[in-house]
Amino acid sequence: MNLRALLNALTGRKSSKDVAKERLRLVLVHDRASVSPEFLEKIKEEIIRVISKYMEIDESNTVVNMHRSDDSAILEANLAIKAIRRNIH
């Protein structure tokens, strides 16, 4: 660790390399997801398939999307429930 790295560590300031890596990670989440238009559609179908074991989902009122906040990428799924199955253990 050299002087600058030590200073960064003491002041809690991230090195520019760490900032670069973090930004890259996030931008690639978005890039990779948006390259394929069927990507989110596929995830949506899979989520509905799993959740349907437990409750009845209104597919037409279900939205899956991806957005990013400052420091993370978020996958958001809003599923409208029609009914919950009775005998689930």
């Binding site: 600058r4 090195s15 520019s16 390399k17 890596k21 890259l24 990670r25 931008v27 390259v35």
Partner: protein
């Protein structure tokens, strides 16, 4: 049967042409028969990096349009055994070549040469698609910068979606002093993000500019330059040898090396 290797990157100016020239010279010095194809139509550059710009008669478009035989367009580099350049056309439009024509040409060259290196244009348009059309392998060049790594990720996706069976990464213009300071992405950071096999790391080196000025690729000069050594190592890896990666951190103090080893930095 020869191997067709495309050198590509997405982002412009990261070192594709320099890499193509140096690997070509390195392979020729290893007694392989090599053809370099400049697929950057309209922005011909490989000829000047190789120092062969005064010997061009025919070009890639002349070959695919049948105005000359392939052999007539190949410029022999008299300094090495069996190194040839097929220059790009300078004035014609970028769509003068089709992926099918490129495939056919690569197929023809593979019959006679051991390695065909294709210098790809920047971008992901037609020129890129032509350049990768006949390739068996891809070498993806990036620099340790956010935009270059991002574009490399895109290119890796496109290459993997096609017929190319193997793609490996070259990290170019690494500056160990900046990495040490925490001001440049390190090799491990880039590999973690891109999840691709590494075939070489070339340091940022002023010798590259000096040798390009003279039209003599550094891989040919045994002057101890770190970039020349890095290119020769990539050549050996292309030929199937296992060669340890150069240690760019050898000037570090004992303490910082120790910390690196025990995982403190």
């Amino acid at each position: 049967m020869g191997e067709v290797i495309v050198i590509t990157s997405g982002k412009g100016g990261v070192g594709k042409t320099t890499t193509t020239a140096n690997l070509g010279v390195g392979l020729a010095l290893a007694e392989k028969k090599v053809v370099l194809i400049d697929a950057d139509i309209g922005l011909r550059n490989l000829d000047v990096v190789m120092g062969l710009e005064n010997r061009i008669v025919y070009d890639l478009v002349d070959v695919v349009e049948g105005r000359c035989r392939t052999k007539q367009a190949l410029i022999r580099d008299k300094r090495y055994h069996n190194l040839f350049l097929l220059p790009a056309a300078q004035t014609r439009d970028k769509n003068a070549v089709s992926p099918e024509q490129m495939k056919k040409l690569c197929q023809e060259l593979k019959e006679e040469y051991d390695f065909i290196l294709v210098d790809c244009p920047a971008g992901i348009e037609q020129g890129f698609r032509n350049a990768i059309a006949g390739a068996d392998q891809a070498l993806i060049v990036t620099t340790p910068e956010v935009s270059a790594v991002r574009d490399a990720d895109r290119i890796i996706g496109l290459v993997e979606a096609g017929e190319i069976k193997m793609s490996r990464l070259i990290i170019n213009r690494l500056r160990p002093d900046m990495v040490k300071r925490g001001d440049m992405l390190d090799i491990d950071d880039i590999l973690e993000i891109l999840a691709i096999e590494l075939i070489g790391v070339v340091p940022d080196d002023e010798k590259i500019i000096i040798s390009t000025n003279r039209g003599e690729p550094v891989a040919a000069l045994n002057d101890g330059s770190p970039s020349g050594k890095a290119y020769r190592n990539i050549v050996r890896r292309l030929l199937g040898e296992t060669v340890p990666f150069l240690d760019f951190y050898k000037n570090q103090s004992f303490l910082s090396r120790l910390k690196r080893i025990i995982g403190l930095s």
